[in-house]
Every structure is written in structure tokens, then in C-alpha cells.
Symmetry: C2
Subunit: 399 residues, 2 copies
């Protein structure tokens, strides 16, 4: 049986190169930019005052009041050069006039008739932000592969970049399978339960930067599966199928996928929960057959699907994000496979500790709701005391 | 001058109680639920098989093949009771028939004519998920105040909760001020720069769960400010104003806000950057006058605006999220105020370390783009070696 790391490498090797499209950058925080963006001009575009005060010549004598020859608010253009014994009233953000090379803050100056006196002689360049000090025209200010953070959105605005090639968000079709399932809007009859995987996988997809399309529930017949999975495959970069991938008589998904031209690359991974995971491709479309148990499906999403979606969205580091953190409580678990247990990060004196949540690997989705990490326990007899550093997978959440 | 913690307490004390509205829960990951949601029925709703195999009586003798009296796929309802020497073919998710109390996995059973033999006698309850083991009808499964995680979305679907009272996302009006500013779509003339704060604050607002409305640029005149700020105040829970809050001749914002009926609660905070921060209210509307420098505005957003938006959105813990982490590189800074420097978290042998970014407190937004934390340095002579634990504020980012 494949190990988790090898299975993930197999998935990532099948991800086609991400596809860029020129789009408006507004509202695209979290997207990845596909080409270098350069400054169209120097920033600041002129020597700029960093304070309200007086633009002066630092080489002046400052033994008598300086004569104020002009007032330069932000947005204005100075028209006079500053000579010996002269200065200009200036405001934050305004261009330094010719001749001047420093600014005296208004708190350090006193108006005397038509002029001003200063408390100290200024250093050359004092409170002046030099033209091009932040960026030079032509310089790359947001390199290809950068994530659009809010600060990057500000930088792009500063260079007049309204549209840029951004990697497309992957489109994800979601299908739940099982004759026992009814839609969330319906009251389950005897023997039935509601479809929890569809809404959960749609929410997970959105947190991973994907666009979910919920294809609802497919019945456990070859015909129903062929119709629904065929439609799901036709229009998505990724297809997530929940349930129907074990080896039982009614687990028809692997056979139907084969009929539909999907090549299976692996089926079963050495992990708990999530062992029955199936992964295949048809052309560039990635197909994940996830276990029907929602906790197992969620763990498989974090370990395999989220990295695939990040790679498709152009992230250089697909993850999952991992760390080593001390345990906030002891754990004891005996298993034949590496085990992933829901956990939460807690502040510690330095850094964080990780606390396993109750319920562990039992099939209880409610216990997963507050989790922001998965504790990774090795196969065998895993008993660790409080304080032992253990590996964790960080679950990405938008909250 | 107010300390940061006192200023934040003043802001949070003015946040009106969050407002719930019954809404569809689909697509609302990250929102906070305003009322308890209870299970409408037991889950599982019946004793359920956890495996494909055979439903048996654990007290049976297992010395001869058991007769298969029925086949129960998932979604079906068993019609026969299991007597001594009998069993039912059963599949994962299907109801356990009357009389049976355990499941033998198909891997542990062998078909013999009309019956099956099992390798081992089962434990009572083996591979049976008992009715109500996950949740009981009437039991609260998503308590008021919970964040809608993907797992919570699955739990809500499981109990048929399509709509629920969710706290409304705060609406945030954004106004940039300054005669030197032009819109990002325009080419700046002499003395002009593009408006970077508007797009940056809109992106920050979205990452904090708010809905941004960009009111563009207001000129530095009383009339222009009165018009734009009046419109911004009329329709928002929060107004963010970038620039015009220092003490200069053209810093008209405080006076215009007063004219518009905004009560100022503080103006200036003991921090660097971000000292000129102004905070006021009009009725329930919170008004932040942020410094015009984008780095200062960003730091003020993380320390004051994001917590206010989280409180308005119903989060019990408004933040900011903080931690203590060892330094990945030495820092040296001398300042008269507590100082916030952009930094990134790096994996360490255990946990993470925090690395200050180059550029520090200089007004360079580009240097902020990769930051995911702010390093907090105390006032005075702050010199720390690599490895020293230091406080950090974690910046929330959706990537």
C-alpha cells in the first residue's frame, strides 16, 4: 500500500501546469500572479516631504529667519527654486522644491513675520523621501508567483496595475454517492441519512481557493453513476466523489470511472482514516474517490486535494503546511497505519502546543468542527507524554 | 498618549452587539452562527453497519454455516429478524436488522452454498455504529458563537439546517484623502501619486470578513470631505479614512468629522508606525482616521480595525491573534514608542521562528507584501539576539 507522501507526490506529478488569465486584480486576494509586474515610474516620483514643515537648504546659515517664498501643499508643483536665506512652506507628500534638500518639521520652526526660524540646523536629506527610494521605473515590484496579499494589492495599485495575469481558480465538481443519501432539504426516510459530504466538500474547496460545483447525489447503479460522473468530468479541473470506493458489492465507482476513461493511479493509501482513497486522471482532470465517511473525506481533502488545488492555482508550495509542536495532553493510540487525529493549536509560553480533540479517529464530524490541525501518529504503539514534540498538518481555514 | 492595548479596549467597548440575520448557510464559511442548532433526530438514525459483510448474533454458536436470510444495501430497510443460525448480507451504512448485534467483515467470512462461515466469533457491537452515538435528537450540535468551518457545514447539513441566524458581515466604507492622489486607472501628473490605500484597505477588509465599499478619493477641502465622508457615514458600520489626520494645515479630517457629528474618542496612539490614528463614533458607526502612509495604515488595520470587524461579525475572540516566538535573526531598534515591524514565520525544529523583514519601519509597502506577522518591539533600546522569544501579532491572510 502507498505511503501518504508517495501518494501525494503521485497526485502532484499529475497536476497540469497552472493556467493564467488576465483579470482584474480587485477582489482577488489569495490568487497567484503569473507574470512579473514592474513599476511604471519611480516611487516616490519626486523627492517628497515626509512631514509638514519647511523645505530648506541644509547648507544655509540659519542665523536669521528664512524667508518663505512659496507654499507647496501635497499634489502641487513647486515653481520657485530655494535660494540662500529662503525656504518654502511644505506639507507631507508634496515635492521638495529645487535648491532645497531637507525639511524642518513645523514643530521645530517658529513663524517670525514673513519668515521662520528653526531650532536646529537640519541634516542633509532630513524628512525627505528620495525619488525612486521605494522603487525605480522598470523594476519588478511584484514577481511572478507572488500571492496577492492586501499589501501586494496596494503595491499593484501604486504602479497602476488594474489587470494582471492571475492563475485561474480550479473548478471542482462534487458528487456524493449512496442510495442511503437524501438532499439536505429533504427529511430522511427509514434507512436514509442526509448528504453531509457535498456541503462540507464545497466549503473545503472554497477555503482552498477552488470554485465548487455541487452535482448532488448519484444513486448506487452503474447508469446513475455513469450519467452523474460523466457530467462532473466534462466540466471540471477536479472531480471529488464521496463514497462508493471501498471493495463492497455496491462500491461501483472504480468500475464506472474506468468505463468513463479515467486511469486509476492508486487505490488505497496507508493511513487512518482515509485508506480507501482512489486517485485517477482523465486528460488533465484529476479525480479523487474519497471515502464516504465525512471525517475520512476531510482528512483526505487536507492531505491530497488541498495541495492539488493549490498547485493548480499556481502556488509554488502546494503544502500541506506542517510543523512540529509539543503536545498539550498525552496521546495513546495503537494502529497498523499512520493515524491523523483532529487537534487544536493552543498558545504556550513560547509558540503553540497542540491538543488532540476528543473522539479521535471515531467517525464523528462534530468533533472535527473546531479542529485547525491534524496530529500525525506513526503506525504501531504511539504513546506520547505532554510536551513531546509531534508532527502536525495545519488545516487552512478562513477564520 | 494612549497605549495600544488601551486604545483597542476603547474601540472594542464601542462595538455595538453583533446583528444576526437568518441566511442560507451555503458559502458562508468563516461566519459566526448566532443561535444553537440542535439535531432533529438521532445520528446515526438507526444502528448502522460500519463495514460490508454479514449482520450476525454475537451470541450464536458459529459452529456451522449461517443461513443468509436477507440482503440489506445502504438505504434499504431490513424486513426480517435474524434468528439463531441466521445472518443478513449487509453493506456499509445499512441498518442492522432486528436480532443481530454485530457485523462480520466480508474479508473474515467465506460463502458456503447458501450460507457463510466466519473466521472468528464477533464481539457484541462489532462494526456497529449505535443509533444516537454521534448525536441525539434535540442535542445542540453547533452552539451559538461557533465559526462555520467546513466540518460545521457538514454537521449542519446532517441535521437538515439549510438556513440559520448568522451574524451579518460588517459593511465598511473606505475613503482616501489627499490632493496628491489619483485613481489607480489614471496616469499621475506632476506632484501626484496613485491611491494605494483604497485597494489595500478593501483587500484587508475582505480578509477580515467585512464587505468593502470604496468611496474613492476626497479632495483636501472642507466641502469635498464633508460630501464624501457624509456619504460614507450614511451607509456603513465602519468608515475607514486614509490620510488627513495629522496636525498639518491640510489635515482637515478631524474638523470635518466633528461637523458631521462624529465624536472623537482618541487621536494618537503610542506606537510606531501609526501614531496619528484617530477613532470616533457616530451612533453605532465606528470611524477610523488612518495615517496616509500605507504601511502605517496597514499596521493600524491589524491592531484596531480587524479586531473591531471580528467583534462586529460576532467572534467571541476579536484578537488580534498573538504569540511568542523565537527570533530567526537579531534585531536592533531604538525608538521612543513601541514599534511594529513586518516579519515572516519560518519553520523551526520545534514550532516556528519569526524573521524580521528588511526595510523595517521605513514607509515601504512592497516590503510588507510577504509579511504574515508584526514583530512587537518595546520603546527604548531594543536589541535582541537570534533565539530570543519575542511577542508577535499574526496577520490574518486568506492564503
Amino acid at each position: 500500500m502507498l505511503e501518504v507522501a508517495d501518494a501525494r507526490a503521485e497526485v502532484l506529478a499529475r497536476v497540469r501546469p497552472p493556467v493564467p488569465l488576465v483579470q482584474s486584480v480587485a477582489g482577488m486576494t489569495g490568487a497567484v500572479i503569473a507574470a512579473d509586474v514592474a513599476a511604471d515610474r519611480d516611487s516616490p516620483p519626486f523627492d517628497k516631504s515626509l512631514r509638514d514643515g519647511y523645505a530648506v537648504r541644509s547648507t544655509d546659515r540659519f542665523d536669521a529667519p528664512l524667508r518663505v517664498v512659496e507654499e507647496i501643499p501635497a499634489g502641487a508643483v513647486p515653481v520657485k527654486a530655494i535660494g540662500a536665506g529662503e525656504c518654502a512652506r511644505i506639507f507631507t507628500g508634496a515635492p521638495i522644491p529645487a535648491g532645497a534638500d531637507a525639511v524642518v518639521m513645523q514643530e521645530d520652526a517658529t513663524a517670525v513675520g514673513d519668515g521662520v526660524t528653526t531650532r536646529h540646523a537640519p541634516r542633509p536629506g532630513q524628512w525627505v523621501y528620495r525619488r525612486g527610494a521605494e522603487m525605480r521605473a522598470g523594476e519588478v515590484v511584484v514577481p511572478a508567483g507572488s500571492v496577492l496579499t492586501p499589501a501586494a494589492a496596494g503595491v499593484l495599485a501604486g504602479v497602476g496595475c488594474v489587470e494582471a495575469p492571475l492563475y485561474l481558480a480550479p473548478e471542482v465538481s462534487i458528487v456524493a454517492t449512496g442510495d442511503e443519501l437524501v438532499d439536505v432539504c429533504r427529511t430522511p426516510g427509514p434507512g436514509q441519512i442526509r448528504n453531509t459530504n457535498g456541503p462540507m466538500l464545497a466549503a473545503l474547496t472554497a477555503t482552498a481557493g477552488g470554485v465548487p460545483f455541487d452535482h448532488g447525489i448519484a444513486r448506487d447503479t452503474r447508469d446513475a453513476l455513469r450519467d452523474t460522473l460523466g457530467a462532473a468530468l466534462a466540466e471540471a479541473n477536479v472531480v471529488l466523489i464521496a463514497g462508493g470506493v471501498s471493495a463492497g458489492k455496491f462500491d461501483l465507482v472504480p468500475g464506472v470511472l474506468e468505463e468513463l476513461g479515467v486511469t486509476a493511479h492508486f487505490h488505497k493509501v496507508r493511513m487512518k482514516p482515509g485508506k480507501p482513497l482512489l486517485f485517477g486522471t482523465r486528460g488533465d482532470t484529476l479525480v479523487f474517490g474519497l471515502p464516504g465517511n465525512p471525517v475520512s473525506a476531510l482528512v483526505c481533502f487536507e492531505l491530497f486535494v488541498r495541495p492539488a488545488l493549490r498547485a493548480l492555482a499556481g502556488h509554488a508550495d502546494p503544502g500541506p503546511r506542517t510543523a512540529t509542536l509539543p503536545l498539550a495532553a498525552p496521546v495513546a493510540e495503537v494502529n497498523d497505519r499512520p493515524t491523523y487525529r483532529p487537534a487544536v493549536l493552543e498558545p504556550a509560553a513560547v509558540s503553540w502546543a497542540v491538543r488532540p480533540l476528543e473522539g479521535g479517529s471515531a467517525p464523528d464530524l462534530r468533533g472535527m468542527a473546531p479542529a485547525d490541525a491534524l496530529l500525525v501518529l506513526p503506525a504501531g504503539d504511539a504513546r506520547y507524554d505532554t510536551g513531546t514534540p509531534v508532527p502536525v498538518v495545519l488545516m487552512d481555514r478562513k477564520n
